[in-house]
Symmetry: C2
């Protein structure tokens, strides 16, 4: 007989070596793997199922707000990519080029899309004629390639899966409204479904999308005190519509350029999910996004009636939850470890004594707490418990984020805070690129987001944390993935 | 004011110039467009919505039969692609090569996946250890690139969207069973959801997938008498598992190679949908796959109550059907034409007189027939009508296929049939490649499928249509897209 594969809970200590803990978790849970192509990842079924849940949560909201999906070519001619100057400057260094096809050298190199504004605007210029057709509210789900030197699965890879929305509007106001609408959809999905609290705001000129007028972002705080940009929504003004000659006959019978937005979120979110909720026992998944919400584990499965009852419970629960029954011939302890590692929110244990008492034991992944419930109320109890776990994970993450947030009035304080308790630093900023650069150079922290007007605060005496000049903006800084 | 865009029903005559009719339909319905990259298509929202419906019908069935989705890299190293000799020979001429990335010449060229057996087997060799892990039942939804000289949207393009299933099994029998299971899922989806009747069977050695032991296919008959391969399921034996060194410890504690299948269906199916059901007025969509199942068109919309009633009906119907209300300021006649062109199965007309009588008119896209129904029964009547249309479209297509099917006992008859009534030719075949080649050379027809044993017939005296030698196989031949 083949020797049984031993499942070992060998994770690096997350407080001591968080990068290794991350690598251990993603490989031991079989979420993702390294591929034979450097920097490219394979998303395994357990990781992909999480992506499917994120996709479906987002796609539903996109459609509810009037967006339709479409699909654009993977490859973009070099000449087309180069029409918007700032855009190509930002993306050119990361592009992968196809130079041969069908056995021949191509006349013009084709870029694998790093993002699709260019080719989409080129087609929009063909499709758009009259204001009656506006707004254009379209999105695509696809993969993009951006050549990266240093990669980490989900967080930074040379290929990733994402969605990119591309909309056109008659007025600046409508486009700005759309930019905010989609930012709020990201915020809502990430907070409510992924249970990740966010800092929301605008990017600085330095950090914005190449070619955008303004980029808005949702930023999350990871366990180790580093931030993760988790979705961005761009107001592009008429930069691309002018460069790609997208015009239409407006209400005054004049040729006009429409106003433009784009917005994207990617498989990076899975990395965030791992690094926000995970613990020393592995993954911890919020119920709404977990591929398996409930795992049933029979105890003393050889005893009469146990396995039958476990199957019966699975059948009874599968209409309401994503449920698995582990009937493999491993020991219950081994199974407990494995499913804990996989982050399944609720474990149902059922053994001979439970059977006799008409009960089962429910174990929560987030707190480790166990409760005994009557089988009659099982479905109801699990439902309530999943809700409770979803809320608790958000609260726990919020508490962590708050603990990892501090204020700095000067550079000394900035550095001290970042060293003693890495996380977000709230600080005043004069708006000068020079100060932003200096902060990055001296601390490794970047400007993550400038909160909206109604969330602005004044830190200290209101002078720039870096140069000491009067500053009218507060910003969130952090080291980031 | 901008001049109203005139919607003109200008389709080529489908009997006289079918290719032009196809081109007209796909562009006038805004399903697809030509992109700035030669041979690559843009799938527009109306076309993509059909793909989403096909995807969801298939994905549901894949999951019900135990398959999980995953995602593999877009790029495959040249050395990896070349490990299975027959496979690379088949695909190499169609490959697009990435030779530069991140500003540098790559050490090894990377192929954009034409299909993913090679990279998936490479990873399977890492993941598979024991028979306990088998079967591997995985699938991916993605795009693939195969450089084509002559392209037509949906039917043959250098990039297309598809799914590719890749499974591993302990025994030959299990793998063969899986090959058939997936073939039957394709058959069921295409027949029941797309309302397209099929010829099902095995491909010849010449026509099979490069690297397969056996390829099974579903073949459909288009309006013009050409066949369309609409999905294939391959039994790959151990060809790839040996080439990529995929081994596991079997039940006898010995290292074994698993048995392997792959199966794929693509956006080609949309081309089939158009060419099977379309008519002189444009697209005709089967209700189960139509992005819009019901369109409500107010007549004399300026009259009191009409538009309100139309909105009310939309609200009442939207829980049960995919319904649109056309409240644009075009004339009803223009709208009728447009939505007919788009192939919407049922049109609801509501005007002042209908309002008074508490009725509405339902117009069927498939037959043009109109019926008047009480508003009280509207939902029920539409439901029944959609079912009726779904069935009728299948029956109509089946009748067409049967009319386009003939038998040939010798080459003379073969050519005569193909000229007089292009379509499927059922003929005996000795099994020799030479005869298959000669048939293609002389008639342009290829062997589409060899029916399964229980569907075999003897045509004429049972001798090969080409060489006249005894033949034990009947096969379906046709010219094909």
């Amino acid at each position: 007989m083949a020797k049984k594969k031993q499942f070992k809970k060998e994770l690096a200590d997350m407080e001591e070596n968080f990068p290794q803990w991350y690598t251990d978790v993603i490989s031991k849970t079989e979420m993702v793997d390294y591929s034979p192509v450097k920097g490219f990842m394979v998303i395994r079924p357990y990781g992909y199922a999480i992506w499917e849940n994120i996709q479906s949560a987002m796609d539903k909201r996109f459609k509810e707000t009037g967006h339709q999906n479409m699909y654009f070519p993977l490859l973009i001619p070099q000449s087309l990519l180069e029409k918007e100057a700032e855009h190509v400057e930002g993306f050119a260094p990361e592009v992968a080029w196809v130079t041969k096809g069908g056995g021949k050298e191509l006349q013009e190199p084709l870029a694998i899309r790093p993002t699709s504004e260019t080719i989409i605007c080129d087609m929009y210029s063909k499709w758009l004629h009259s204001y009656r057709q506006l707004p254009f509210l379209y999105n695509q789900w696809c993969s993009v390639v951006r050549w990266e030197k240093t990669t980490r699965p989900f967080l930074r890879t040379s290929e990733f899966l994402w969605q990119e929305g591309h909309t056109l509007h008659e007025t600046k106001e409508e486009a700005e409204e759309e930019t905010m609408r989609m930012l709020n959809i990201y915020r809502e999905v990430v907070e409510n479904e992924l249970a990740i609290p966010l800092v929301v705001g605008r990017k600085s000129e330095k950090e914005k999308f190449s070619g955008a007028e303004a980029t808005y972002t949702i930023e999350a705080m990871m366990h180790d005190g580093q931030a993760l940009q988790s979705g961005t929504s761009h107001y592009l003004g008429q930069n691309f519509t002018k460069a790609y000659d997208v015009t239409y006959l407006d209400r005054n019978n004049e040729q006009s350029y429409p106003f433009h937005t784009s917005w994207g979120a990617s498989t990076r979110l899975i990395g965030g999910l791992i690094m926000v909720h995970g613990d020393e026992n592995g993954l911890v998944l919020p119920p709404r996004i977990a591929p398996v919400q409930v795992v049933i584990i029979p105890v003393a499965a050889h005893k009469e009636g146990v396995l039958d009852k476990a199957y019966e419970l699975k059948d009874a629960l599968k209409g309401s939850f994503r449920v698995e029954l582990d009937d493999s011939d491993q020991s219950p302890g081994w199974k407990f470890n494995q499913w804990e590692m996989k982050g399944v929110p609720v474990r149902v244990e059922i053994g001979p004594r439970d059977l006799e008492a008409g009960q089962a034991v429910l174990a929560r992944r987030d707190t480790g707490e166990k409760i005994t419930v009557d089988l009659e109320n099982l479905e109801q109890e699990i439902g309530a418990l999943l809700e409770e776990i979803q809320k608790n994970l958000y609260q726990k993450a919020l508490k962590h984020r708050d603990e990892r947030t501090s204020e700095a009035k000067n550079m000394e304080e900035f550095k001290k805070n970042l060293q003693e308790k890495p996380g977000f630093i709230k600080a005043m900023w004069c708006g000068d690129r020079a100060c932003e650069d200096k902060i990055k150079e001296e601390t490794g922290a970047t400007l993550r987001a400038i909160p909206f007007e109604d969330e602005q605060e004044v830190i200290g005496d209101g002078t720039c944390v870096c140069c000491g000049k009067p500053a009218d903006k507060m910003a969130w800084f952090a080291r980031a993935y």
